[in-house]
């Protein structure tokens, strides 16, 4: 589960980069929204990785 979370995180990074490539500087709202979505995906990946760590520790989920 930890590995799954860590694999999701680069996807969030590439989403953020895609925002820069796909949206022109004249559309900062769309760019910013996409970058934030990328960060949200990374945050989800981190949460999954942390939950994987907690399961390994024998603790209850978040």
């Amino acid at each position: 589960m930890k590995f799954a979370g860590l694999l999701v995180m680069p996807a969030g990074f590439f989403l953020s980069i895609a925002a820069l490539v796909l949206f022109p500087a004249t559309n900062p709202a769309a760019r910013g929204g996409f970058v934030l979505c990328g960060l949200a995906v990374e945050a989800l990946g981190l949460v999954v990785a942390v939950r994987g760590h907690m399961e390994a520790q024998g603790k209850s989920a978040l």
Binding site: K2, L6, L7, M9, P10, A11, G12, F13, F14, S16, I17, L20, V21, A25, P28, R31, G32, V35, L36, G38, L39, E42, A43, G45, L46, V50, H53, M54, Q57, G58, K59, L62
Partner: protein
Amino acid sequence: MMAGSPPVLTETTVVLVLVALLLAPLAIAGLALVNAGLGRSRSAAQSLLGSLALVAVAAIVFALVGATFAGTSGGASHAFSLAGKPWNWLGAGPAFLSGLNSAPARAQLEVLFEFLAVALAALIPWGSGADRLRLAAGCAVAAVMAAIAFPLLVHWTWGGGWLAQLGVNFSLGAGFVDPAGAATVHVLGGLSALVVVWIAGPRKGKFPQGGFATAMPGHNAIYILFGCLLALAGWLAFNVAGALLWVHAPLSALPGAAIDTLLSASGALAATFVITRVRFGKPDASLCANGWLAGLVASSATAAVVSPIAALFVGIVAGILTPLLVEVLELAVSIDDPSGAITVHAAGGLWGLIAAGIFSGQAGQFLAQLVGIAALLGLMLPLVYLLCWLLNRVVPFRVESDGERIGMDLHELGGGAYPEFVIHRDDSYR
């Protein structure tokens, strides 16, 4: 390809940066003391010897491998083209620092800054692995950081890489701004600390089955608090030198950068002091030390970029976040981080980078900072985890159970830091 050339430094600036960098090792000394103080007495000598060894390993590996990939601003680099934009991703400096003595003063100062920065970064995960991370494993982690992760990040941020070029290529302010290593040193070090803690696991008895986390307080508050004072001197030096080297601040901006640093640390300490006083009835020395350090870490991103009042605000927020996050990580997420490095360096650094975007007042800067953070979390954390996971197969991170019981000093060094003291039994081993 060659990146755009940075401004040439005047002789006065060269002397000023050099003097500042000669004081910067105080930050390393301070952090080493804090790490030793927050660990147990039976691991204190291993902690400090480890700090020396890690600095040495990081410096040697960076000289042999990392410096080539990190490069210097305006130096040779590797880049590819995507969507009509250049993506400068790796430095192509001379191998083994050849020709450094005859290089321009700026290039030599940049390399010196990077040496000190990698030494500081290497110490961060060492503190988190206190009391169970083997010395050989700590050195191996330092070597991997100095050879791969740190040079990549340094090139992207300071060496004219794609993060630094976000302003030119995508109209995002001045590009990703990291004046004194909030990202390259502290967030990278903090994320490495998280990885080390994940792989090494908690100290024995820290999280008993069906019970609350056991409190394992640091063994020497004097080391911790004096380390914080030493760190202030080192951070002032790092922030002043970084302002001149990496954001090309004028000499007139340097007193402001130093004031920002002090205000950020002061605000953070005051906030942590008040919060721990309210929550526990008395201020907590080790959490206050963590708050102070978190303020300093945040200042690494904001000094010379924001106003003094903004720096104070940044510090206060860092000081509020620190004790709360330390508690969440320990009690809710079962992460045993004796030095609090994940909170102090990773979270403090991330907050500083965000604040630099908020308070810089430049259009697009906030987005540039977010893209930098996305690279740190989305690329660096998985990369460091992968490297450390592989490393753990070769050099096991965690000491044997018996070594943890008798202490790292006796197990790894054959003698303790306090041979005349009576070693008390630890309740967690009953």
